[in-house]
């Protein structure tokens, strides 16, 4: 007897809800908490319906205090639960920085494994949806340098569900960033059943031979479109890789591709300085230095705060900039 796998076309935010529901159903210890995640179903509807289905003991509206949310989640995680804490926007995680930096990520080490913190912090992030100030920060690199934290970013609904479930099942803290610009902009097929996408593994969006383009999150569809346009005009072919996990990076995949192409473009929306581009270049320096034919090209945000929304289009990596960078990489 074979069972047909049920598949639906979901948006990314629906896939997030689906993952949460799957895990709430499967594992009694999973709880969801945060500001407005309960009755209201989250400001982006990511937790829609969960409060009604699982009740207020498992889907919890908390007071408005991020340090409180992360700090109590640490206690809950150590004492048998798997909390999934929502930060309403990534730009509001900063008050919780101390709890994340000095406790969530150090407890296993401080107690040699006696106490562990299997928690997930979810947060929508990134610019491009005309949100107010602070709502559009893209500071993923801040977190990749916190020892003890994994950082995961899906770019589509399928990955969102599989990566989120893998994050929830991970025995250690995971920061799960959801590119809000991609929340509803397109759908992908998502199996109804439970599945995981392994953390730490990048995915080829497109194979190619001449330039490696590394990106993640909302930049993936943008990059794919720019690459398509580029390839229509030029004979060179691009390999596009969605990194998906930013800590730990998938060094093997990066290395494999760079050894083949010798040319690299990195696309991200965070500021240039200290952004992930630097860490990726550093990994390439270690792993594939002698294969590089040209300096790595970067398409990033500026070393400015993300501007208010009338200017966010100028801030975000554009089609032109991506194509320009690919051309640059090929020009050496």
């Amino acid at each position: 007897m074979t069972t047909a796998i049920q598949v639906r076309k979901l948006t990314m935010v629906q896939a997030v809800t689906d993952a949460l529901k799957t895990m709430l159903q499967e594992d009694e210890s999973v709880i969801v908490l945060g500001e407005d995640v309960g009755k209201n179903g989250g400001v982006f509807r990511a937790t829609e319906g969960l409060f009604d289905q699982f009740g207020e003991e498992r889907v919890i509206d908390t007071p408005l205090a991020e340090s409180g949310i992360v700090g109590t989640s640490i206690g809950l995680a150590i004492n048998g639960f798997r909390p999934i804490a929502e930060m309403q926007f990534l730009g509001f995680i900063y008050p919780a920085f101390n709890q994340l930096m000095t406790h969530a990520t150090r407890m296993r080490q401080r107690t040699m494994g006696r106490y562990t913190v299997p928690m997930v912090i979810r947060a929508p992030y990134g610019a491009g949806v005309k949100a107010p100030e602070i709502h559009s920060d893209s500071v993923e690199a801040l977190f990749t340098q916190i020892p003890g934290l994994k950082v995961v970013i899906p770019s589509n609904a399928y990955d969102a569900k599989g990566l989120l479930i893998a994050s929830i099942e991970d025995p250690d803290p995971v920061l799960f960033l959801e590119p809000m610009r991609s929340y509803r902009s397109f759908r992908t097929e998502v199996p109804e059943e439970k599945y995981t996408v392994e953390l730490g593994k990048a995915s080829y969006q497109k194979k190619g031979n001449d330039v490696t383009v590394l990106t993640w999150g909302a930049m993936v569809p943008d990059t794919m479109k720019a690459v398509e346009d580029f390839e229509k005009q030029q004979s060179a072919s691009c390999e596009v890789i969605d990194l998906r996990t930013l800590y730990p990076l998938d060094k093997e995949t990066i290395q494999e591709s760079v050894e083949k192409t010798g040319r690299v473009v990195i696309v991200h929306e965070a500021p240039a300085t200290g952004g992930m581009n630097a860490e990726i270049i550093s990994v390439i320096n270690d792993a594939a230095f002698f294969y590089l034919k040209a300096p790595v090209q970067k398409v990033t945000g500026f070393d400015t705060p993300v501007p208010v929304y009338s200017l966010e289009k100028e801030y975000l990596p554009s089609r032109e900039k991506i194509i320009h960078a690919i051309n640059q990489a090929l020009s050496y």
Binding site: E35, G41, D61, L64, T304, P307, V308, S310, Y315, E320
Partner: protein
């Protein structure tokens, strides 16, 4: 200790528009008319913005309808030279204190200029990270104290904001250094979808002042006379070097948290609408003015016309405002841009101009 008894809601004018406090009579007819005019202006601006948002002419908007008495009454209680620290919802306060309507509209189309007050007006850009502004207000007021002026800070924040650590640290610093700041809480019952009962286990926000020995009062935030006179007292205390005050103004927002929010998800909107006929701050003042023989339909119509013109002019100015420029972003990270910014801007411009190498 029953905190509801210890901190009763102080009213000066009842919902029927009757004087219920001896000091209410200190209010002159001119002041009453000023109250009404400023509240009307605030409400008309709010309605305009909600409409503009529906038409897609401005972005996501944060309405304050229902909270006009709290914002206008308190804003009228401070003087030029004092400092105001609004949140994203306190435009009734800032426009009353002298902010430019054009800039407020610019704010809602995502323009930096929207955060900048007119010259000579000490207004901070709206604080977005909840409760963070309490510390700025305390720091600014502390500076005034150090400079030995008599200027004060007036800082706005919501019921939800009381849960953040910065609320606590702000009140503690203000109390320890006895700085001239008025903490003006608008308790509108909700932080987005979260009602006060889930936000805290205390029945009042005023009682939180007890932790810091900060004098606190709970007032009817829809009674502009109460708001004005009690804020004035707090401001005077601050000016006289007597330190901070915490005011809990109990109020209500009729509408959604923002235009992107659907309040029916978490509360009965019919009940909320019902309040328009009972607790409304403008209606209450209207009743009071009628009771006192101060109501004049013609005057109201004149006001409405004047305000409509003012808003339309501001809207026009906003629409005709020069296009935003990314240069403003680059130029204002540091006083002098670093080489990183210079290079990034140069490259940005070069690609924009299509001058690819």
């Amino acid at each position: 200790m029953n905190m509801l008894e210890k901190f009763p809601i102080t009213q000066y004018i009842s919902e029927e528009g009757k004087t219920v406090h001896s000091e209410a009579t200190d209010i002159t007819a001119d002041l009453v008319k000023l109250f009404y005019e400023k509240m009307l202006r605030a409400r008309m601006m709010d309605k305009k913005c909600v409409n503009l948002q529906r038409q897609g002419r401005i972005g996501t908007y944060v309405p304050y309808e229902g909270q006009e008495a709290a914002q206008v009454g308190s804003a009228l209680a401070v003087e030029k030279g004092d400092w105001m620290f609004p949140t994203y919802r306190d435009h009734a306060a800032t426009m009353t204190f002298g902010h430019s309507l054009r800039n407020l509209l610019l704010y809602w189309v995502g323009r930096i200029e929207g955060g900048i007050p007119p010259e000579g007006k000490n207004i901070f850009p709206p604080a977005v990270p909840i409760a963070s502004q309490l510390l700025h207000a305390t720091g600014v007021a502390w500076a005034e104290k150090k400079k030995k002026t008599d200027r004060v800070s007036l800082v706005y924040f919501g019921d939800g904001a009381t849960s953040e650590g910065d609320f606590h640290e702000g009140l503690n610093f203000a109390s320890v250094f006895k700085v001239p700041v008025v903490f003006f809480n608008q308790n509108n019952g909700y932080a987005i979808s979260v009602p006060m009962e889930k936000q805290m286990n205390s029945k009042t926000i005023a009682q939180k002042g007890l932790a810091y020995e900060i004098p606190s009062i709970r007032i009817d935030g829809n009674d502009i006379v109460a708001v004005y006179l009690e804020t004035k007292k707090a401001v005077e205390r601050a000016r006289n070097g007597e330190g901070p005050t915490l005011i809990e103004a109990v109020t209500w927002r009729y509408g959604a948290h923002t235009t992107a929010d659907d309040p029916s998800k978490y509360r009965d909107q019919a009940e909320s609408d019902q309040r328009r006929t009972t607790g409304d701050p403008l209606l209450r003042l209207e009743k009071y003015m009628k009771n006192e023989g101060l109501w004049d339909e013609e005057w109201v119509t004149t006001m409405e016309n004047k305000i409509t013109n003012e808003i339309n002019t501001a809207l026009e100015e906003m629409q005709n405002y020069p296009d935003p420029s990314i240069d403003d972003v680059f130029e204002n990270v540091f006083e002098k841009p670093t080489w990183t910014l210079d290079e990034q801007l140069k490259q940005h411009r070069s690609i924009k101009r299509g001058q690819m190498s």
